[in-house]
């Protein structure tokens, strides 16, 4: 295979990695800090995509503006959901899970009612290619990788430098112990939801710019998110990054190297192996 085609695939893979990492980080943040499986995470991502669509295709705004607006809006939505739906059930993971299920139904069908079931797409203003070392690289995907990386760095700094961030890390690593140290659980949970949903929204916006959006696009994100979280480690934030990177590259590069259905199987065979032999994933600690 030619270098050009290979580097296209790698870039595709990296872009997918970026998106998967954003989704998985959101899922892990909520999971390890609030102790719940937020299965409506896919729907949050979907709403993020539609928000970007609204700004870009309906309001005629700039793509980046759309991403930012979407992230803020969906992040805010996350905070509201945390307050109304999840806080009453703190400590009752099974009930919180059931609430998440209800949210899937509500969110998906509200969007369905408002926007109809047909897939839509918006044209990202970023088109064209840039030539690096003689290889044509799609701007769209490059932007995704760059912005994704930027967000990762920002998140990393937030965790490292702010007290809330440090608290979040502590809780994610040892939930029971951290709770005893007088941290403001309310504020930390709200922050986790804000960040988690915001990241998912950005991921949704990116996917929307590459492909199309529909009210049912959420399950794709949920399953990818879960795959990454399992691969990288249940409860592990760095694991989500590693897992997302691996899975994104596999999904991006493998189809170009082999026939599609083997590619699909390899990714999942690997994860099945992990599930059987080390269910807590590469970095996780879920025993």
């Amino acid at each position: 295979m030619s270098t050009a085609a290979l580097s296209q695939s790698v870039l595709n893979g990296l872009a997918l990695s970026g998106i998967y990492i954003l989704i998985a980080l959101g899922l892990t943040l909520v999971m390890s800090i609030m102790g719940i499986v937020q299965v409506a995470h896919g729907e949050i991502y979907m709403i993020g995509a539609y928000s970007v669509y609204y700004v870009v295709a309906v309001l005629g705004g700039n793509f980046f503006l759309g991403i930012v607006a979407s992230a803020l809006f969906v992040g805010g939505l996350g905070v509201v959901l945390e307050r109304l739906c999840f806080r009453p059930f703190r400590g009752r993971a099974d009930r919180a899970f059931t609430v998440s299920i209800a949210l899937i139904l509500i969110l998906q069908n509200v969007v369905l009612a408002l926007a109809g079931g047909n897939p839509r797409s918006f044209s990202s203003p970023i088109t064209g290619v840039v030539h690096v070392l003689g290889i044509a690289i799609s701007w769209k995907r490059l932007i995704i990788v760059i912005v994704g990386l930027g967000l990762l760095v920002a998140l990393f700094l937030f965790i490292k430098l702010t007290r809330t961030g440090q608290a979040m890390l502590a809780i994610s690593q040892e939930r029971e112990g951290a709770a005893l140290q007088g941290m403001n659980i309310d504020r930390i949970s709200a922050t986790a939801m804000f960040l988690g949903c915001g990241l998912a929204a950005v991921a949704g916006g990116f996917i929307g710019s590459l492909f199309s959006i529909s009210p049912t696009m959420g399950s794709f994100a949920l399953m990818k998110g879960i795959a990454v979280v399992i691969l990288g480690g249940l409860g592990s934030i760095p694991g989500a990054v590693v897992g997302g990177l691996i899975l994104g590259l596999v999904d991006g590069v493998l189809p170009a190297l082999t026939t599609t259905h083997i590619a699909g199987l390899v990714g999942f065979a690997a994860i099945i192996m992990i599930l059987i032999f080390r269910p807590q994933g590469i970095g996780g600690h879920a025993g």
Binding site: I101, Q108, A227, A286
Partner: protein, 322 residues
Amino acid sequence: MIPSLAGITTVCLFLLPLLLSGPYYIHVFILTMLNIVLAASLRLINLSGQMSLAHGGMMTIGAYTSALLVMKAGLSFWVAMPISGFVTALIAYIIGYPFVRLKGIYFSIVTIFFSEVVVLTAQQWQSLTQGAAGIFGIPRPNPVSLFGILHVNFSSKVDFYYLALVLMLICLIILYAVEKSRIGMILRGVQQADSLAESVGIDTTGFKVLAFAVGSFFPGVLGAFYSHYISAINPDAFAFLFTIYILIYMTVGGENRFFGPILGAAVLTILPEVSRPLKAFEPFVFAAVLIAVIFFVPEGMVGLPKMLNRALRSSEKEPTHA
């Protein structure tokens, strides 16, 4: 469960097809009976404290296994159906050991993932499963004759109705027997105090796997029924939303009593079919009911009489505080 009430209900169910007008309602009742067993079997796994979302995957495996055994290996449906159940039970037993070691929410996630892997495998393994298109033309169950006089060849929905009814009764009897046995007591003990159970000699891991495996037997069998009933199966038939609905039936009905999932499945399957507006807004209604139950009626529908009773009694008496 008052035995006589159960007896009367059973007789009514046997007579029901005579009253129903048209194959559509028979279909609704068949689905209801399937959902009842699915919700009740999910509850068995739940008894041990594990929230499994693998039922969708198990149903898919059961459906494909039976279809392939009959169509490719030439087995009779009556052999293939129980085998499908044992296949899913065996798979659950194998994946159970690594899975149950994971804490509650992580166990749930890996079961979600398991179901997804099943769907993807069915889509990708084209030589076996014919890929995303699925399998068509699955034959009806082989004709049987009961007591030498009654010949059933499954050419009409009513035949499937009675098969579903018999299956449901057998499955519920098994589930009830397991729950009332010492196994059920052990599972509940494990759910309440895992370490304590271990300390008195109970192999908690083993029992959690047992619950998972036995509970997963039933979607396997019902999956087999389903694929021969509809004559077709495709990978997405029992995707994530399917398992979620079963969870809803169990939760709304009441996960703490045996009768809960039965009630929940029955009401939530039949009601949308009887009321057109309800059907149109089904997801919202279900979500609303689910939220109402979690916030206000955690015991579920079966707990409603007790709750109303308590509410009525406390409003009659002068408020006294212990």
